[in-house]
């Protein structure tokens, strides 16, 4: 066990994966000599060299297209897109190519690329360093989507992603890169995809969240406990595959669901969760499903605190579900 922050745990996972398998390589902007703008790839260049820790020219479509070709040849590329906000030039490669290569080739060309990218707001990053657009990727069949919220999961989910046979979009909650630290198992610690993490138990309401929304959701649950409301918190860990069973089971128990994400509400992942609950847990529901989300606006700079869900807005929604109104 080591006490690490999330970004250190990611660095540790990359380091161990590269030590263990010479096919693993890292590519992206500023990932080499500079160690990444968030230092997630710190030290890798020195240890593994320029051939496996590749500073690329500035082109996201070039990075992902190149990573696809590497994976077709049997390498295990871990591409970094510096911010999720800058992934869109590569969207064509991700959606049209990466997600469909296995399917359109009848399984002849698997394409196990991992794309790591920091996402989310709360760092005074404005429109283009704050977005949380995981739903685009969850919507695209062929991709898996992982979002850790703890240092142990950051390492464990990333190692699972690197060993996975399918492409994985690995979204890193940059707001809590350094603010959350915790015990991380040494060695080949892997966290399976599709298994939600039960963060805390409760009988009155289920709070479902992931990534950087976990800390305020837990804080909300603690506030609610003092008010006599037992809130169960589930951390989804991966949106695809989704641990549908854990969500449905919890809501069958509590009868109430509050779905939390910082992404915009319209077509956000909470909509999908709400639909699943309506289909599979409808008769257990004692109150309307509530969503606590970002606004349907571009991500703001000065007013980001108003845009983002926080413990109070999450708790408010949970109180509404439990007490009505």
């Amino acid at each position: 066990m080591s006490e690490l922050t999330i970004v250190q745990a990611i660095n540790r996972a990359l380091h161990e994966a590269m030590q263990h398998d010479p096919n693993v390589l890292v590519l992206g902007e500023d990932v080499g000599v500079n160690g990444g703008v968030f230092r997630a790839t710190e030290g890798l260049f020195k240890e593994f060299g320029a051939d496996r820790v590749i500073d690329t020219p500035l082109s996201e479509t070039g990075i992902v297209g190149t990573a696809i070709g590497m994976a077709l040849y049997g390498l295990k590329p871990v591409a970094e897109i510096q911010f999720l906000d800058f992934i869109y030039p590569a969207f064509d490669q991700i959606v049209s190519e990466l997600a469909k290569m296995r399917y359109r080739s009848g399984g002849q060309y698997p394409c196990p690329v991992v794309i790591r990218t920091p996402y989310g707001g709360g760092i005074r990053g404005g429109l283009y360093h704050s977005q949380s657009t995981e739903a685009y990727f969850a919507h695209t069949a062929g991709l898996k989507v992982a979002i850790p919220s703890t240092p142990a999961d950051a390492k464990g989910l990333l190692l699972t992603a690197i060993h996975d046979e399918d492409p994985v979009i690995f979204l890193e909650p940059k707001r809590i890169y350094r603010s959350v630290s915790g015990e991380v198992p040494d060695g080949d610690h892997r966290v399976p995809f599709g298994k939600a993490r039960p963060v805390r138990a409760g009988d009155d309401v289920t709070l479902v969240a992931y990534g950087a929304m976990i800390p305020p959701t837990v804080e909300a649950a603690e506030m609610l406990e003092k008010e006599g409301i037992g809130a169960e918190v589930l951390d989804l860990r991966t949106l695809v595959p989704l641990d549908e069973e854990a969500v449905v089971r919890s809501v069958e128990k509590t009868g109430r669901a509050v779905l939390v994400h910082e992404a915009a509400r319209c077509c956000g992942f909470g909509g999908e969760l709400a639909a699943i609950l309506a289909e599979k847990a409808f008769y257990s529901l004692k109150a309307p499903i509530a969503r606590v989300t970002g606004y349907d606006t571009p991500f703001p700079y000065a007013l980001e605190h108003a845009y983002l869900p926080n413990a109070e807005t999450i708790a408010h929604a949970a109180r509404g579900a439990v007490r009505g109104g």
């Binding site: 070709g69 077709l72 190519e97």
Partner: protein
């Protein structure tokens, strides 16, 4: 076949041929001609089947056979082909089964991709033919990534990235050429410039004096070649490949050809092509140019040509019969291969 007097004669001499193809030059040309005949017969047959409603779609490579056949012959088994739109014949020359390819045209149960793609989008891993996309240009930077793997592992082989004239305006042309040159990778960028991106002529695609000239901006030697002259194509490929295989980095070749058919079966070129286009294309028909040269030098006799034609007809007829006898893909293949069979990621609606 058009009247022979209408084509531009090929200017190669038999000693040029010997220099290019070696002592066996006559047999190399015979092999090349056989493949071009097959390509021509196949295109004609498939276009007819499409009009009869027996296949859903077709995009011919008529006019591009010299490039495709020369590529098939110059490339090595350890090379990898990233096709653009009209390189299906490359896979066949490299050993892909005509029957299996035809199953993919009919999108039937014996298509290895389970009928998931439109016709003319084959995948042939056995001959290192990457699954073809309909998206323009994306394969260019993918070829670069594969070439990175070749270089990293010190493996022999070249990644061949094909694309049309329209793709030179797309993002991945820029990204791919730039990355390949920066990393010094073994990539052959092959631009099949048939002068039309559906309805847009190449003069509206770029103000550059040629597409080959674009290589200079990336530090990649570029060369424009008459893509309808089998000798010129073969020679240019041989030279470029020797340099790439010697570790000198990527090369760009622009093959100037004439699109002799509509863009696809869904296109009506009378809406946009000048009236004399067909005639100009026929004057540069790569198949007729080679045929005429071989007749002139005694490599083709009327009997031999009839035999070759009959052989191609039979091969295509048998492949079509096999495909038409195959059932459609099984419904449960709809949800296979979205993820690895070892994954439980797929959820949601199933048939």
């Amino acid at each position: 076949m058009s009247a022979l007097s209408t084509v531009e004669p090929l200017t190669a001499t038999p000693s040029d041929a010997e220099r290019l193809f070696g002592a066996d030059w006559a047999s190399t040309l015979s092999v090349a001609h056989r493949w071009m005949t097959l390509g021509r017969v196949y295109d004609a047959r498939m276009q007819a089947l499409q009009r009869q409603g027996r296949i859903g779609f077709y995009g011919a490579s008529t006019g591009q056979e010299a490039v495709n056949v020369a590529t098939g012959l110059v490339s090595r088994p350890e090379d990898w082909i990233f096709p653009g739109l009209r390189e299906q014949l490359v896979a066949l020359v490299r050993g892909y089964s005509l029957t299996e390819y035809t199953h993919s045209i009919f999108a039937d149960a014996l298509d290895p991709a389970h009928g998931r793609q439109m016709p003319c989008h084959p995948t042939a891993r056995g001959v290192h033919h990457i699954s073809m996309s309909s998206v323009i240009g994306t394969q260019i930077s993918q070829a670069v990534g594969l070439a990175y793997g070749l270089k990293l592992r010190h493996d022999p082989g070249v990644a061949w990235a094909f694309f049309g004239d329209g793709a030179t305006s797309a993002n991945d042309f820029h990204a791919g050429l730039n990355f390949a040159a920066v990393f010094g990778l073994p990539v052959l960028f092959g631009c099949a410039n048939n002068q039309w991106a559906i309805s847009v002529p190449v003069a509206h695609q770029t103000a550059s004096e040629s597409l080959a000239a674009k290589g200079a901006a990336y530090g990649i030697p570029g060369r424009q070649v008459d893509g309808t002259d089998f000798f010129a194509v073969y020679g240019a490929l041989t030279e470029a490949l020797a340099e790439i295989r010697a570790g000198k980095g990527p090369r760009l070749l622009e093959f100037l050809t004439y699109r002799m058919t509509p863009h696809t079966s869904s296109d009506d070129p009378t809406r946009y092509q000048p009236g004399d286009w067909a005639e100009r294309g026929q004057r540069h028909d790569p198949y007729v140019r080679l045929t005429e040269w071989m007749r002139l030098h005694g490599l083709l006799t009327p009997d031999r040509e009839a035999e070759e034609q009959a052989r191609a007809d039979t091969a295509v007829r048998e492949a079509v019969a096999a495909a038409e006898a195959a059932p459609p893909p099984a419904p449960d293949t709809l949800t296979e291969d979205v993820y690895s069979p070892h994954s439980s990621a797929h959820r949601g609606a199933t048939p």
